[in-house]
Amino acid sequence: MVGLDVVLQALLSGLFMGSVYALIAIGFTLVFGVTDIVNFAHGHLVMAAMFVTYVLFKSAKLDPYLSLVIVLPLFFGLGALLYVLVIQRIVDAPHSAHMMVTLGVLLLLENLANLLFGGDLRGVTTTYTTSSLVVGPVAVPLARAGAAVVSLLAVGALAVFLRRTALGKAIRAAANNREGAALVGVDVPRVYLISFSLGTMAAALAGAVIVPFSLVSPFVGHEFILKAFVIAVLGGLGSVGGALAGGLLIGFVEALSSLYISASLGNAIVFAILIAVLLYRPWGIFGQAKV
């Protein structure tokens, strides 16, 4: 029998990782919702940001949170560059072309990282990497709690941006109806560029804040894109609120399944849920059926 404190501890860890997954998935689903592009390289952008953060820590002793000042604008710019050089050319092409091109970007990023850093797992040790705060029956790991807080703040900021600002509304309008948006004067190509850059920046933010407690290698991107994909589908592709709920759900499922079943079966269970959702609610758990 597993004690209540152990369950609480698992739920807490699920909440923390789930928040980070939600941020990654929201970047992915924002890009899809607006541009209709399924960006399979999204998880590898998380990986690339982890490496940049790692390098900044190793070379300049820059704390991962401080390095955000560099990492966020850098990846917003990289996202814009990637969009202009590659994605823009295939935005009107069929989904099969999106898949092949973004998989190509994935391979490029993975091999570039492999060339630069080799395949070993690397990590950093900050002053708070192993610190935790004991609250009642549970220990709150500070690095993970920080990553979760930053992720949730970013998700909230993005939601407010999309709901309240003129640019945010233009993004929603272009996502909802591209032609309608063009006809009211929205510069749709520019909105696509900004959305893709914002999605890339969300991936980079998630990558940077998990560096204090995660190991990075050129191959960690696969794990992130699989989760992001499952979460985005669970939440209804293109839905920010759905991705938040889906991210937390996957975080909890992962934590509880490693507690009750087996840690190595975590991904299998996540995918079993995906298959069940696709069979019975293909528009996602939180999405709405399109008529």
């Binding site: 509304k169 909802n176 032609e179 006809l183 009211v184 004067g185 929205v186």
Partner: protein, 226 residues
């Protein structure tokens, strides 16, 4: 003008004078929608020229063209169905010139279509067909256009709603907005219009005042079945 490799418009010369309501009529597939999409920049024209207020707008992006004062209510309305009625209208005034006058324009639009004020917080996708058409026209008007282009505003609407829409078009024109109207509803649209053009398989075959075209034997035979 072409879709893919098939040229669909051949010889379409039409002029809309300030303050007019001009109808472009013709059967399905005649090229009416294509003509409008070429004017508002949704489709790139192969050759030819569109000038608006003495300025060439051919080949400009739709967002640039609407900024010049030309608003297009497209086929299928293309509303933001996941956004509220109010958000749709607000998006209509997206450009700076329109945004400064948003309150005043909103009062004008809800005066034309009081139903839109009642449905303010409802999602556009949940409106009836007639209400969606009102919203599509209202959203276009929010940009304070000098020329309003309407593609089949009466399509699929109940007769009472068609009358509401046509009355609104007359009032919009009366308030000083020039209107280019595409309709299959030939009799009603020609009765409303100062002038009209008849389009057949990508060519303009007839032009004249609304009353002339209504009385023309060719139009009557081809479109009214009399």
């Amino acid at each position: 003008m072409a879709y893919g490799d098939v040229r669909v418009l051949h010889d379409v010369a039409l002029r809309v004078g300030q303050g007019e309501i001009v109808s472009l009529v013709g059967a399905n597939g005649a090229g009416k929608t294509t003509t409008l999409r070429a004017i508002s920049g949704l489709l790139p024209a192969l050759e030819g020229r569109v000038t608006f207020d003495g300025e060439a707008i051919t080949g400009r992006a739709p967002s640039r063209i609407v900024a010049r004062g030309l608003a297009h209510v497209p086929e299928g309305r293309q509303l933001f169905t996941n956004m509220t009625v109010h958000e749709n209208l607000e998006m209509g005034a997206y450009l700076p010139r329109a945004k400064t006058a948003v309150g005043e324009t909103l009062a004008w639009v809800t005066g034309l279509f009081p139903r839109l004020a009642e449905r303010r917080t409802q999602l556009a996708g949940t409106l009836s067909g007639g209400e969606q058409q009102m919203l599509a026209i209202g959203r276009a008007l929010m940009s304070r256009p000098r020329l309003l282009i309407l593609d089949e505003p009466s399509l699929g609407l109940a007769p009472i709603m068609v009358k509401t829409i046509f009355d609104a078009i007359r009032r919009i024109n009366g308030d000083g907005t020039t209107v280019l109207l595409v309709e299959q509803n030939l009799a009603q649209s020609l009765r409303l219009s100062h002038r009209g053009y008849v389009l057949e398989t990508g060519r303009i075959v007839l032009e004249g005042s609304g009353a002339e075209l209504l009385a023309n034997p060719h139009t009557r035979k081809a479109f009214l079945g009399v």
